[in-house]
């Protein structure tokens, strides 16, 4: 199964220059390679700060695009890694090895399997 690992962190902490943050950033560099070697890697991107992003909605055929979101909370989505793992516990173990798990938080979310019915509300 595939799992998206959504990496959240506080940019002031990650880029604040503390020794742990420095170490985590250095370890991040080769981490894709580690995942490729172990066979878990599917895709990965680090994200720019949200100041550079736009949020758009289309309602009644009209598009509205605004800048942001602006940081209301301290943590922001900073990166996405998609991995292949046998089950949720393996995905959690793999995500737990990511250097940023020590600084921020990683949400492990199963990628939708379209052969199963959608959730009902």
């Amino acid at each position: 199964m595939r799992y998206a690992c959504l990496i959240y962190y506080d940019p002031r902490k990650l880029f604040g220059g503390s020794p742990e943050a420095q170490a985590a950033l250095e370890q991040c560099e080769g981490y894709d390679e580690t995942l490729k070697e172990s066979g878990h890697f599917v895709a990965a991107e680090a994200l720019e700060l949200p100041e550079g992003s736009m949020t758009l909605t289309v309602r009644d055929g009209k598009m509205s695009a605004v800048d942001g979101p602006f940081m209301e909370t301290r943590d922001m989505l900073g990166g996405i890694i998609v991995i292949e793992a046998a089950d949720l516990n393996e995905a959690v173990r793999v995500a737990g090895g990511h250097p940023l798990a020590k600084i921020g938080a990683i949400e492990v979310r199963p990628v939708v399997d379209f052969s199963t019915p959608p959730p009902q509300f």
């Binding site: 393996e90 959690v92 173990r93």
Partner: protein, 412 residues
């Protein structure tokens, strides 16, 4: 040609060796997470090298040493020599490839005892055992237990953290603790089986898998420890499993023992269980599981319902109640008395057990009462008892059965 052969060998190794390789790697690397990572890397290495270099003669040994060497390699590269030093020292000892199959199975037994350690809460023991020993995925366990995958994942993460933090040893306990520790192992195995056997909802396939896995585990524990109660539990589960095809009809409705088609029962399983029970009685190694198995065998070996030896069944319940008293066993004994001596005696026995307490919320206590009242023609009281049972029942098939009985009485 060579590629497909290697692929086939790899698939076969994944199916048959994965669990045992993991069990050995946990011992060699001293932890679940390191072992799981090593297992994954070992299979990744096999996928690269087997097509080129050929399939090794002993895939188990190849995978264990590949996993171990890759882990040493990774730990060295991760430049944390200082922190990893004790681990590396332990790893530097040469891995003695177990020549005897028993030695490999010993690792699986160690794993079962660790996963069922009494320091872990019962729901964690079950989830951990099914995933680490049974090889089920988190998602499969969640489906079988009607839980969400994160709930199960968390149980497994917490159980592993506890094993690490409390330094629970990876070993089969010594003689002094064996009986107590074995009880916890057998209870986990029986809970897994009961979950697969009793519940009627959910995907049928996963449910049957739970029963098959419980039987596999009981067989392993029985063979490796030689303990009588492990064999007793195996016998009990084999007899229940043998009768599974006749328990429900095509519509999924419950079929009572008296109406079951006995030609559907798996006679080979019943015979295997019967031998185990016989040898346990011959050696006087009779505990609660063996006694329950013996009772189940009395039913399974009877030619038909009318030919059941109710006297022997009542006597076995008498012994069971002395060894392991419980309100449910007492209720079953009362039901057997009703079969031996008639509904009046059965009703008196059920009422006597109910007066002892502990069964108010148990639907079968009210259902047993209702059945004897019905047979005695005390229709009004029988209806009341069926309604009480219906208020407490949780399984659909059982609910439908009680509803049919109640509506038959209301037509009168």
């Amino acid at each position: 040609m060579a590629v497909t052969e290697a692929e086939r060998a790899l698939e076969a190794a994944y199916r048959t060796e994965k669990r045992r390789v993991l069990a050995t790697l946990i011992r060699l690397l001293g932890g679940f997470d390191a072992a799981e990572e090593a297992l994954h890397e070992a299979f990744a290495a096999a996928a690269q090298r087997w097509p080129r270099e050929g399939v090794p003669q002993n895939p188990y040994a190849w995978l264990v040493s590949a996993g171990r060497f890759r882990t040493i390699d990774r730990w060295r590269r991760e430049t944390r020599h200082a922190a990893a030093l004790p681990d590396l020292l332990a790893l530097a000892e040469p891995f003695d490839e177990p020549a005897m199959p028993e030695a490999i199975a010993d690792d699986e037994l160690r794993l079962i005892f660790t996963c069922c350690h009494p320091a872990l809460p019962p729901d964690q023991r079950i989830a951990l055992t099914l995933r680490e020993v049974g090889g089920l995925t988190t998602e499969e366990i969640a489906r079988a237990y009607f839980a969400t995958p994160p709930t199960i994942a968390q149980r497994i993460v917490r159980a592993k953290a506890r094993i690490r933090d409390e330094a629970i040893p990876y070993e089969v306990p010594g003689r002094a603790d064996l009986v107590e520790r074995l009880e916890s192992v057998l209870r986990v195995i029986y809970l897994v089986f009961s979950e697969g056997y009793a519940a009627t909802g959910g995907p049928a396939l996963t449910r049957a898998d739970l029963c098959a896995e419980a039987i596999r585990l009981a067989r392993l524990v029985a063979e490796l420890t030689g303990e009588a109660e492990a064999r007793g539990l195996l016998a009990l589960m084999l007899i229940n499993e043998a009768r599974r095809p006749s328990r429900t009809d095509a519509a999924g409705d419950l079929v009572l023992l008296e109406a079951q088609d006995r030609t559907l029962w798996n006679r080979a399983m019943i015979a295997e269980a019967g031998e185990m029970i016989g040898s346990a009685f011959a050696r006087r190694g009779v505990g609660p599981y063996t006694l329950q198995a013996a009772i189940a065998a009395m039913h399974a070996e009877a030619p038909d319902f009318a030919g059941t030896d109710w006297q022997a069944i009542v006597s076995l319940y008498d012994v069971l109640l002395r060894v392991d008293p419980s309100p449910v066993a007492a209720l079953n004994r009362a039901a057997a008395i009703g079969m031996r001596d008639g509904p009046q005696a059965g009703l008196a026995a059920v009422d006597a057990v109910a007066a002892g307490g502990g069964l108010e919320a148990y639907h079968l206590s009210h259902a047993a009462r209702a059945d004897f009242l019905r047979r005695l023609g005390r229709t009004v009281e029988a209806r009341t008892a069926y309604r009480k049972a219906l208020a407490l029942v949780r399984q659909d098939a059982e609910r439908r059965f009680l509803e049919r009985r109640l509506s038959a009485l209301e037509d009168q």
